[in-house]
């Protein structure tokens, strides 16, 4: 795999990008479902080219927080600042327009459609008569799929017939093709075999080099320590703390997840160590 991104503009963006300019800042975010405070005064940020792991038990609020960034849930109160400017993200389309792409745990794919249709779902390429340009979409899609997995050929069958890894390729290709600047990955390796997991890890490294910022939601401690630069732990909707991954041990992280206990003598950090 050479360059993951399709366009020269993306590579240029990686080169000229100011890596000290904060990519995303979520400030004092709140979200309640009925009477349940799912997310409470959470502050989290992300810099270009870093992976921030978002950790916590089921129901800790990490997926809700990320879904707000992706436009899937409206934010009750709080601010989202993207590239230094206040952004208003109310719908998934708003998030996509801001360069935010998500790869969901449930792999948000339409099972009855083929891989190409899923890659372009919601952003189809059209002919000049405003009809679907299937041939161009096929050609473009095969380029992305080939880059991610050379063995992936059967992209004209409905995705429900594909293996977990192939489905993941389709989900990830959505983010790659549309030049995500900010990527949310919710359990990206949960359904994958070892080879496919390695593929995802390689991909994350590449995206980092190009200056893409990644929020990684994972339960897999191995993934978290291998892939992330910082980690943020949530418990009961609140942020326990954000630390540089290399500063903390696995036991300390588990302590934060299970007990909500901050590790002693370890500095919290709001920036990646460079």
């Amino acid at each position: 795999m050479n360059s993951v991104n399709q366009n020269a503009s993306a590579a240029q963006r990686g080169a000229t990008l100011n890596r000290n300019q904060c990519l995303v800042e979520m400030r004092d975010i709140n979200k309640a479902f009925g009477g349940v405070q799912a997310v409470e005064n959470v502050n989290i940020n992300l810099y270009p080219g870093e992976v921030v792991a978002v950790l916590g038990h089921n129901g800790a609020g990490k997926s809700t927080l990320m879904k707000m960034l992706a436009g899937a849930y409206p934010i009750d109160s709080g601010e989202v600042i993207i590239n230094g400017e206040k952004a208003s993200i109310r719908t998934p389309s708003d998030a996509q327009a801001a360069g935010i792409e998500s790869i969901y745990q449930t792999l948000a794919l339409a099972d009855n459609l083929n891989s190409v249709a899923n890659l372009f779902l919601g952003r189809e390429l059209l002919t000049r008569w405003r009809t679907l340009d299937d041939h161009r979409m096929d050609a473009e899609a095969s380029k992305v799929f080939q880059r991610l997995n050379k063995n992936f050929k059967n992209y004209h069958t409905p995705v429900r017939r594909l293996s977990g890894g192939q489905r993941q390729v389709v989900a990830i290709s959505r983010a790659i093709y549309f030049n995500a600047q900010i990527l949310i990955m919710d359990e990206p390796t949960a359904a994958l075999g070892p080879e496919e997991t390695a593929m995802v890890a390689r991909l994350i490294e590449q995206l980092k080099e190009e200056g893409v910022g990644i929020f990684l939601i994972s339960h897999d401690m191995h993934d978290v320590f291998a892939l992330s630069d910082r980690l943020a732990v949530m418990k009961n909707g609140k942020l326990v703390g954000t630390y540089s991954t290399k500063d903390v041990t696995e036991d300390e992280v588990l302590g934060m997840i299970i007990l909500g206990k901050k590790p002693e003598g370890k500095p919290e950090t709001e920036r990646p160590a460079r």
């Binding site: 998934p92 948000a108 249709a117 919601g122 009809t131």
Partner: protein
């Protein structure tokens, strides 16, 4: 053998369609034998074709409604309401037929906006909304003309329903047949060309050739049969009935929507995975609303054809039609779970149902027995659907 079976299974042939077409052929041949050749008479086939048209027209859009995980139980009542309204405006209010039809369309659109908004924006299940509509619009159909039958006499308008002057004649029928054949050949040629250009493997010539020839033979024999039916005392044979022509145009348009437009793709995506559709930014509510508006347009067309065929608008117009339409859709292979269905399937489904019904009528089967058998055909179709999906691995 097993490998050959696997290859056939994954060849670019829609086996379900092939099978359904075969079932249709077998049914008609059996009825023809038992009726002593009456079933295949030009007159009988002409009548079946035009009787199926209204159910067929509405089944094309019911496919999309069901694919999107909705249902419309009110379609028969709305059609009755719109039909009576159009007939009332023409007979009692003395409007011209185009004005009356436009008014009918407007009424259908208002009804669809009401039901569509409740479903799409308020989130009431379409089953409930349209179950209410089933009763309310039947009542409205009664209120429009106070339950009185509204007879129609405009000669041009009556042609739209088929009937005595409702065929397009011999020459026009052959021209339509020839144009369709050219269209089929051109579509296949364009498809092969595009596949080659993008390096996608094409089907063997034999397969593609058959896929062009069989529909062509079907179209031309249909035209020949329709041209063989001459009502005594008329100079020319009937030719293709206008309702069938309308049905064909509607089916073609709906297929275009499904395969070539964003709208069609979004409808299938919403049926396949509603959460995903929402997450990728498909305007689910707007697409649902558009779906109901499309239904309104086709319901109006169905209403026009029905009242023209009956020469009158009555408050019982379209009674139980929703059940026939849904049955045709389901027999045509549309899964009630959503996400899968084809327009061509709905055409075949409507034909299969009408052929069984008309065939039994020819054989003097009592109405009770006919209902029992049609009901079981519906169930058999769904049983087959489940078995077929297991075989191909497309378990929903």
């Amino acid at each position: 053998m097993n490998q050959a079976l696997q290859n056939l299974k994954h060849a670019a042939i829609d086996w379900r369609m092939v099978l359904m077409a075969s079932v249709l052929v077998v049914i008609t041949v059996v009825f023809n034998v038992f009726s002593g050749g009456i079933f295949f008479s030009a007159e009988n086939l002409y009548n079946i074709a035009q009787q199926t048209a209204v159910v067929g027209i509405l089944a094309t859009v019911m496919v999309l409604i069901i694919v999107a995980r909705h249902i419309d139980l009110s379609v028969g009542s709305v059609m009755g309401f719109v039909g009576v309204l159009i007939a009332f405006l023409m007979y009692s209010a003395d409007w011209s037929w185009p004005a009356a039809c436009l008014a009918g369309l407007a009424a259908a659109i208002v009804a669809a906006m009401y039901q569509g908004a409740l479903t799409a924006y308020v989130g009431v299940p379409s089953f409930v909304v349209t179950l209410g509509g089933l009763m309310s619009f039947r009542g409205a159909a009664y209120l429009v003309a106070d339950g009185k039958t509204q007879p129609l006499a405009d000669p041009f308008f009556l042609q739209l329903g088929g009937g005595f002057n409702g065929g397009i004649g011999t020459r026009a029928s052959w021209i339509v047949g020839a144009v369709i054949c050219l269209g089929i050949a051109w579509a296949m040629w364009a498809k092969r060309g595009a596949k080659k250009r993008y390096g996608v493997p094409t089907n063997p010539w034999l397969v593609d050739g058959l896929m062009v020839l069989i529909p062509m033979v079907g179209v031309l024999s249909f035209v020949a049969i329709m041209n063989a039916y001459q009502i005594p005392g008329k100079d020319d044979a009937q030719g293709i009935p206008i309702p069938v022509l309308i049905w064909g145009a509607v089916a073609l348009f709906m297929s275009f929507l499904v395969h070539r437009t964003r709208f069609g793709r979004y409808v299938f995506a919403m049926g396949g995975n509603p959460d995903a559709a929402e997450l990728v930014g498909i305007p689910v509510k707007r697409v649902t609303m558009l779906l109901f508006l499309l239904l309104a347009v086709l319901t109006t067309i169905g209403a026009i054809v029905s009242i023209a065929r009956l020469n009158a608008g009555t408050n019982s117009l379209g009674n139980n039609l929703e059940l026939l339409v849904i049955a045709a859709t389901v027999i045509g292979g549309t899964a009630l779970a959503g996400g899968s269905g084809t327009i061509l399937g709905s055409v075949l489904g409507a034909l299969i149902m009408q052929c069984i019904d008309s065939g039994m009528l020819l054989l003097d089967v009592s109405i009770g027995t006919r209902y029992i058998i049609i009901g079981q055909v519906l169930i058999a179709a769904v049983v087959f659907d489940v078995a077929y999906r297991k075989w191909t691995g497309d378990v929903l």
